[in-house]
Amino acid sequence: MSPTLKSLLVSLLIIATFTACGPDTLYDLSGDTFQLRNSDSTQVNFPGDFKGDISLVTFIYTNCPDVCPVITANMTNIQRALDDTSGVNFIEISFDPKRDSPSTLKEYRDLYELNEQFTMLTSHPNDSDVLLDKLDIVAEKAIIDSLGHDSTNYAMRHSNTLYLMDRDGYIRTEYPAHRVTPEHVKDDINYLRSE
């Protein structure tokens, strides 16, 4: 086989691979079930319980004083930007389940006056890594209390990701959660609605 033909075949193979995967499916959660807890302490099967709807999914921790509330604010801005919010879920999942119990999440949703379209989820402390790993979400403790006096007083280095999940449990695109413009997300939601 000539080198030219070999290069051509390799190029075609690469193109075929990318085309098959599709740039619009980042993660396939359609066959997965992650058992999470809602802010009212009920169990939620993620993403199964949200199938049939379009979902915006992001990750926060409630002890985060600055960036996570910015993410939450952006979620509400996206909600406000939509002409029609029916069939759209706004899901925030804690990556700090040791501190974020369902009642803590309820406090957060009350403080930030999030309406019923918002779902605040946490996991059992030992289970959270499975979902985070699957979605490439980074969340690591970064101790600020340099003296180490209080092991519960920590901040976290974390991803800033907002995922758009379609009705079938496929993550179709991602955004920088704290600064994506609502209009951008709105266009993508409308695109998924038209499918």
Binding site: N63, C64, P65, D66, V67, P69, V70, A73, T76, N77, E107, L111, Y112, E113, V138, A142, I144, N153, A155, M156, R157, H158, S159, N160, P176, H178, R179
Partner: protein
């Protein structure tokens, strides 16, 4: 006749000069009485804080304008609503993650502003003394090396 005309002209000029000066002098006195020496100052505005629960955390934001003739340095922070206030900075790392770290000492040159705003510098309030809900307010006190302490009131609100 000519000398009378000269006399009248001189008299008129004198009157104009007198009343003109007198009038100017009056207005000068008026403005003198209104004048006050405005010293340059450190001004705080656009202050607000996020909601939070008792013993929990919150963040406060504001803009500092150094209207003095000298550079000033922000030394310390306190609030009547929290046991501890620290200046922190959210940073974006090369891998796209975000983390937070204590901010360096903030030096504000004369005439400059320091923006303490979401996603960047923020005053982190820890161990809140009470619940802080939308509609509440708290006091934030900043101490500067030259200007001393400056206090402002921050309403609790949700970021839009």
């Amino acid at each position: 006749m000519k000398s009378i005309t000269h006399f009248l002209l001189i008299l008129l000029s004198g009157c104009l000069l007198f009343f003109g000066c007198s009038s100017e002098s009056n207005s000068s006195n008026e403005s003198d009485s209104k004048k006050e020496v405005v010293l340059g100052k450190i001004a705080l505005d656009n202050a607000w804080a996020r909601p939070g629960s008792q013993q929990g955390k919150s963040a406060a934001y504001l803009r500092i304008s150094n209207g003095t003739a000298s550079t000033d340095t922000l030394l310390s922070f306190s609030s009547n609503a929290a046991e501890s206030v620290e200046l922190h900075k959210s940073i974006e790392n090369d891998d796209g993650t975000t983390s937070m770290q204590p901010a360096d000492e903030q030096v504000i040159p004369s005439g400059e502003k320091l923006h303490i705003e979401p996603g960047g510098l923020h005053l982190m309030l820890t161990n809140l003394k009470r619940d802080m809900a939308v509609g509440d307010s708290l006091q934030i006190t900043l101490e500067f090396a030259r200007a001393g302490t400056v206090t402002t009131t921050a309403p609790v609100q949700i970021q839009n």
